[in-house]
């Protein structure tokens, strides 16, 4: 694996994780992370849109004029979001039930626009697809962590199955938006700690 592809993968998952480091797409994160199944579905739908739009924009990067690039990106992104929405409605009606209202929101998820502007429009299609996959995976991973914490503490379930003992009274706060902010903040703090430990270790190695 070349250094470049490796960097794209670690950037998306950790160093430039869209939610936990770049703090993009917070709106979608706070809204859908009430249950793990919602988090996974949202993460995968966003990844699908991200990969398609990155590929499309990268292919057309020399064709899209600078003056109308944002408009072009939005047309491409909203087109793919609508396609994903139709596909979910047709083939995954169960997911559509719980996530239906949030899918159109992917259009305004700034992760997708920011990857189009800062990566896909400057790189070759293969790299753009890889970037979409890695950013999407980072997004999904963060959603799963946040939604797992909120689902266990807020509803006492995980993926819909009861996991806490009877004596545990689920705390409503974690289902509400206040709990969403709280959990996200804790997860970001944890991520910062992990990243700083990794960085220190790398520095130590260099010194040695």
């Amino acid at each position: 694996m070349s250094k470049e592809t490796k960097k794209i993968i670690t950037d998306g998952l950790f160093d430039k994780n869209p939610i936990l480091v770049q703090l993009l797409g917070t709106c979608a994160t706070l809204a859908v992370t009430t249950s793990v199944s919602n988090g996974v579905a949202m993460g995968l739908s966003t990844t699908a849109v991200l990969v398609c739009s990155n590929l499309f924009i990268s292919l057309l990067r020399n064709f899209i004029p600078k003056e109308v690039r944002i408009a072009s990106y939005i047309v491409v992104i909203s087109g793919f979001v609508t396609a994903v929405e139709l596909l979910i409605k047709a083939f995954l009606p169960e997911i559509n039930k719980s996530l239906g209202v949030f899918i159109p929101l992917i259009v305004v998820n700034c992760i997708i626009l920011s990857r189009a502007e800062s990566f896909a429009s400057k790189n070759k299609p293969a790299l753009a697809v890889l970037d979409g996959l890695s950013m999407g995976a980072g997004f999904t991973l963060a959603l799963v962590v946040v939604s797992a914490i909120r689902e266990v503490l807020g509803s006492g379930t995980l993926m819909g199955y009861k996991v806490t003992p009877e004596s545990f009274e689920p705390s409503l706060m974690f289902v509400m938006s206040a709990g969403a902010f709280f959990t996200l903040a804790l997860v970001i703090a944890g991520m910062n700690k992990i990243l700083s430990v990794i960085k220190k270790r790398a520095e130590k190695k260099e010194v040695e």
């Binding site: 057309l60 719980s98 239906g100 409503l172 289902v175």
Partner: protein, 180 residues
């Protein structure tokens, strides 16, 4: 030629829009039928869940419906006898529409209520749309529905459910009065 320079950025944007529209047209042609089919299957399952003997159902004349009722009619068993009535409602809850199917017997008393779709707050608003709350309406007639208590913490959702069921039963009564 200089005058036409303004067209330069517009042209690629038009081309992109056309390509995206073509992709969407293709996806739509693949999915449209299935989406309609899904909603029909969902409704059929809900009605069959309320009336296990249901063999088919027919819609009544839509001019009889309450404003919030999207569809209503009668349920037939295998012999073609009317065993009850149904109404499809979508009252506005705390977070958008709550899709419900209300089934009543031949005297417009609620048999049961089935949930089709809702996006109420999990753990809070969902208390109004879960089975325990919907079952409270079983056996009630139009005048008795107001006696069902709203749920603490889910006032808006449970009021929406109650109001929806009320207009559903009202519609069934109108259909009954019209003689079917």
């Amino acid at each position: 030629m200089q005058k036409l320079k303004f067209l330069k950025p517009a042209l690629p944007l038009t081309v992109i829009s056309v390509i995206i529209a073509l992709i969407l047209a293709f996806v739509n042609s693949v999915t449209a039928e299935r989406i309609v089919l899904n909603t029909i299957i969902e409704k059929e399952n809900a009605i069959k869940g309320i009336f296990p003997e249901c063999a088919s159902f027919e819609s009544a004349d839509s001019s009889l419906f309450d404003a919030s009722v999207s569809d209503a009619g009668w349920v037939l068993d295998a012999d073609g006898k009317i065993i009850g009535y149904y109404a499809d409602i979508a009252p506005i809850g705390f977070k958008g529409e709550i899709g419900l199917i209300v089934g009543t017997d031949t005297e417009a008393k609620v048999v049961n209520v089935a949930l089709l779709s809702a996006s109420e707050t999990p753990g809070v608003g969902t208390k109004a749309t879960d089975k325990t709350n919907l079952e409270k309406y079983g056996g009630l007639s139009l005048g008795e529905i107001d006696g069902v208590d709203t749920i603490t913490g889910a006032t808006i959702s449970s009021k929406a459910v109650r109001q929806g069921i009320k207009s559903a039963v009202n519609t069934v009564e109108v259909i009954l009065k019209e003689g079917k």
